[in-house]
Subunit: 494 residues, 2 copies
C-alpha cells in the first residue's frame, strides 16, 4: 500500500512538471511578440558537461517559438578561417538582431576551457581571456541585449551512464566525442575548471543559471522558468537601460594635440615627394610580403574632414600593396540589418584575417562624430562608445594586429578651396554633395567632437595620428612613414 502511495505521488509530481512546462511554453510563445515589439535581442548561451543534454534542451526551448524568430548555432572547434581571427570574432559576428533569439549550443566558455585544458592558453592568456569575455558580455548588455547564461550540470556517474548508453547503440555512438570521454575520466579537474570560470564570469547583470540536468523534464521546466523570467525583467527594464553606469576603463593614453594646435603649414617639395613616395612604396611593398608570411594583421583606420584627401592618401598606400592581400572598406550609413545589431557588429565582421591588411575609409568613430552630431544615437550611447571603442581596439591589438588611426586634417579655408574646385571640375563634381556643404556648416561642432574623440581614444596601443593635409603630398608621405614604422616594429617583435 505504501508502495502504491509513492507511485501515486511520483505520478502526480510528473504531471505537475508537465503542467508547469505547458504554462511556461505559453508564456514564451507570447514573449516572442513582446520582444519583437520591444526590439529586444535575446542571446541564450547553453553551456555544460558533455552529454548533459544541451542540444536536446535547446530543441525543447525553441519549440513554442516561430522558426523565423530564432537561430541556433552550435559552437564547434574553430575552423581555419576562424582561427585566423581574434577569439571574439566568430562569437561577435553571430549576435542576433533586435527582436530575435539566438540559442548557442555551447560558446565562448566551452572554447576557452578546452583551450586551457589543451594548454593552448597560458595562465596569463587565460586571465586576459576572462577579461575579454566579461567585456564582451557587458558590451552586449549595455547595448540592450538580454544575455541568459545557462550551465547544465550532471554528476560524474550520470555522465558516465549517458556516455555508455550512447556508445552502446550504433545509431547514437557517433554522438560521443573523444572530448566527452576524456572529460568523464578527468571529471574533477573539469569541475574545478568550470567552477573557476563560472565564478569569474558570474556578473550581477549576467549571472549563471546552473541547472541540474539529470531529470530532463525538470531541467526543461527550470530552463523555461529562467528564460521567461529573464525576458520579463528585461522588457520591464527596457526603459531603465538608460540608467546603466557609463564605464570608462583606464587605458593608458597617448598625448595627442588638439586640432587647433596642429601646424598645418608643413609641406614637401614636388621633387622630394616623388623621390620619397617611390622609396616608401617600394619599402611598403617589401614589408607587405613579410607581413603576409609572418601572418601579422594590419588595420588602417582613416577619418578626416571632407575633401581632406583621404581617398588619395589611401591610394598611395594601396598602390604599394599586393592586391590579393588587402581590402579597402568604405563605410557608409548602416543598413537596416546592421542597425538592428550592436553598432560595432559591422566593423567586427570586417576585421582582417592574419597576414592581411584592411583599410577602413571612415570607421567605427562615426558613432562619436556623425551619429552624435546628427542625433542618430542617444547621448548615453555616444558617451559610452569611447570606452567600447577602446575595448574593441584593445582586442585587436592584443590579438597582434597593427592598428593605425589617421585623422586627415585640413583647415576650413582649404576645405572651401577644394569644394569649390570640385564643383567647377566636371570630372570631380560627383565627389561633392549637398551633405558635404551641410557638414561644413557644422565645422565647429565637429571640431569639438573630434577633439574629444581623439583625447579619449588615443590609447598607447592604438594612438591617433593627426596628418597635416593642407599639403596632400606631405600628408601621404607622413602616413606612409607611420605605416612603415609600425609594421617594422611589429615585424621586429616577432
Amino acid at each position: 500500500m505504501l508502495r502504491n502511495f509513492i507511485f501515486q505521488t511520483e505520478r502526480e509530481e510528473k504531471e505537475t512538471v508537465k503542467q508547469e512546462i505547458k504554462k511556461l511554453r505559453d508564456v514564451l510563445f507570447r514573449q516572442e511578440q513582446i520582444i519583437k515589439k520591444a526590439k529586444l535581442p535575446v542571446l541564450v548561451l547553453v553551456e555544460g558537461w558533455g552529454a548533459a543534454g544541451k542540444g536536446r534542451l535547446i530543441g525543447r526551448l525553441i519549440s513554442p517559438i516561430d522558426p523565423r524568430s530564432f537561430k541556433v548555432v552550435s559552437t564547434n572547434a574553430p575552423t581555419d578561417e576562424e582561427r585566423r581571427h581574434p577569439f571574439l570574432w566568430r562569437h561577435f559576428i553571430n549576435i542576433p538582431e533586435n527582436g530575435k533569439f539566438l540559442f548557442l549550443d555551447s560558446g565562448w566558455m566551452d572554447e576557452t576551457i578546452r583551450q586551457k585544458q589543451h594548454k593552448e592558453l597560458s595562465s596569463g592568456e587565460y586571465a586576459n581571456r576572462l577579461q575579454s569575455i566579461n567585456t564582451f558580455e557587458r558590451q552586449l548588455m549595455d547595448n540592450g541585449y538580454l544575455l541568459v547564461k545557462i550551465f547544465l550540470n550532471i554528476t560524474e556517474k550520470e555522465q558516465k551512464k549517458r556516455i555508455d548508453d550512447l556508445l552502446a547503440e550504433k545509431d547514437t555512438s557517433w554522438r560521443v566525442s573523444e572530448h566527452d570521454v576524456w572529460q568523464n575520466k578527468h571529471y574533477d579537474t573539469c569541475l574545478a575548471d568550470y567552477e573557476e570560470y563560472l565564478y569569474a564570469t558570474n556578473t550581477p547583470d549576467a549571472p549563471w543559471h546552473i541547472i541540474e540536468s539529470t531529470h530532463k523534464p525538470e531541467a526543461e521546466r527550470d530552463a523555461l522558468k529562467i528564460l521567461t523570467d529573464c525576458i520579463d525583467i528585461a522588457v520591464k527594464n527596457r526603459e531603465a537601460q538608460e540608467e546603466r553606469p557609463i564605464i570608462q576603463k583606464d587605458y593608458p593614453l597617448n598625448p595627442t594635440p588638439l586640432l587647433c594646435d596642429v601646424d598645418l603649414n608643413r609641406t614637401i617639395s614636388d621633387e622630394e615627394y616623388d623621390k620619397e613616395l617611390k622609396r616608401c612604396q617600394e619599402k611598403l611593398s617589401a614589408l607587405h610580403n613579410r607581413l603576409y608570411r609572418k601572418k601579422i594583421p594590419v588595420i588602417l583606420a582613416y577619418e578626416g574632414w571632407d575633401a581632406a584627401g583621404k581617398g588619395g592618401n589611401i591610394k598611395r598606400i594601396t598602390n604599394a600593396l599586393d592586391p590579393r592581400g588587402y581590402e579597402v572598406i568604405p563605410i557608409a550609413s548602416p543598413l537596416p540589418h546592421e542597425l538592428a545589431r550592436h553598432y560595432l557588429w559591422r566593423f567586427w565582421k570586417q576585421v582582417p584575417k592574419t597576414g592581411h591588411i584592411t583599410i577602413f575609409d571612415r570607421t567605427w568613430y562615426g558613432r562619436v562624430m556623425v551619429e552624435r552630431l546628427e542625433g542618430f544615437c542617444s547621448e548615453r550611447e555616444w558617451k559610452r562608445a569611447y570606452n567600447e571603442i577602446n575595448e574593441f581596439e584593445r582586442e585587436l591589438t592584443d590579438w597582434g594586429a597593427v592598428l593605425l588611426k589617421f585623422w586627415i586634417h585640413i583647415d576650413k579655408e582649404t576645405q572651401l578651396t577644394r569644394f569649390t574646385a570640385r564643383q567647377n571640375d566636371p570630372d570631380k563634381q560627383w565627389k561633392i554633395t549637398d551633405e558635404d556643404w551641410r557638414n561644413r556648416e557644422k565645422w565647429e561642432l565637429y571640431e569639438t567632437a573630434v577633439n574629444e574623440m581623439i583625447q579619449k581614444t588615443s590609447t598607447k596601443t592604438a594612438p591617433w595620428h593627426i596628418i597635416e593635409s593642407n599639403d596632400k603630398k606631405y600628408a601621404r608621405i607622413k602616413t606612409l612613414h607611420l605605416t612603415i614604422e609600425a609594421i617594422e616594429k611589429a615585424l621586429a617583435a616577432r
Copy 2:
C-alpha cells in the same frame, strides 16, 4: 650604326607603350564614374599559367581606380566550408554590386582544370561542369553584368625561366607553388586542357581574351585596352540589354495541376492527425540523423497564400529536427545591397552545407510573383526568371541536394475567414497587415502568376507539390509525408 638604329627603335617603342598605358589608365579612371552612373557591375576574371603574372597584372589594372570601387579576390583551393557547398557557391556569392569592379586572380577555370587534372572530376562531371560555368556566365550577363575574361599566356620556356628566377631568391621562392612546377613539367598536357576549356567556354557574349604575357608593359597595355573597350561597349549596350533573347531550357517537366483543379476538401480527423503527426515526426527525426551522417543537404521551399498556414506547417517539420542541423530563412523584401546584385545572390548565400537542412519561408519565386505583379522587375526579367530558377535548382539537385517545393494552398473564402479571425484575436493581430488585404484584392492576378510559375518550374528533379491546406492538419501531414519520402529516396540512393 645599324645597331644604334635598332636601339633607337626599341626605345621609341617602349616609349609608345608607356604613353598608351598612360592614356588607357586615364580612360579607366573616367570609366569608374561611368559604370557607377550606369550601375554596371564589372567582373574581370584573370586566368592563366602559373607565374604568368596574374597578380601583378591585376595590381597594375586597379591602380587608376579608387579602392572603394573594386575588390580583388584570389581564388585558392576551396576551404572545407566551401567544399561542403555546390561548386558555383563560392563564386556566386563573390559577385560584385552594381557600379563596382571585381578582379579575380584566377577563378572557376583554374579550379575546374585542377580538379580535372587531379582526377577529381570524371569526364562526364567535367562536361557538366562546363555546362554549369556557361550557364553561370550567361546568367550574369543576362542580369546586366559585364564579364571580361582574360587568359595570360606564356611559353614553356618563359614559364621555366620565371619559376627558376623566383626559386633562386629566398624572398620570392615561397611564391612558387608545387602546382606551378608540376604544370611546367607537364606543359603540353596543361596546354591541351586549357585549350579545350577555352574553346568550350568561348561564348559570343563573353569571349576569351588571350594575352601574350612575356613582355609585361605590352601585356598591361593589352589588358587595359581590352578592359576599357569592353566597358565602353557594355555601357553603350546597356539599353540594348532588353533585347537579349529569353532562353528557356528544355528541362523535363512534372505534370502538376492548375490551382483551380485542386480538390481542397481533403481533411484528416483529429485522432488520425495526432497519431500520424507523432509517427511522422519520430520518423523524420531519425532520418535527420542519417542525413547528417551521410552529408546529404536538404532544401525545403515554402510558398503559398497569406494565412494558408505556412508558419504552422514549417513548425511541424522543425519540431522533429535537431536544432543544430537546420535553419529557417524568412524571406522579406531585398535590402539595398541585395538589390544591387543578381536577384538569386541572396538565395545562393543561404544554400545549406552538406548534411544540413535549410527551410525557406518564401523563396526566389518572389521574382515571378510579387516582383512581377508589383512591377519591381521588368517583364523581361520575370519572364527570364523561370529558366534561371530552373538552372539554379538544377545546380542544387545535381550537387545532390534534396529539394522540395511546396505551394500551401487554400481558397479565397478560407483566407477571408482566417484574416477575420486574426483580426479579432489580440494574440494574432500582428500576423495581419494592410498589405495582406491589398494582396488579397489581387487574388486572381496572383492565381494566374502562380499557375504559370508552377507549370514552368515543376521540373522532374525539383517538382512543385500543391498542399491542400483548407484543413491545416491535412496539409501538415502531407508535407511531412512528402519530405520523409524524398529523404528516404535520397538515402537509399547513397
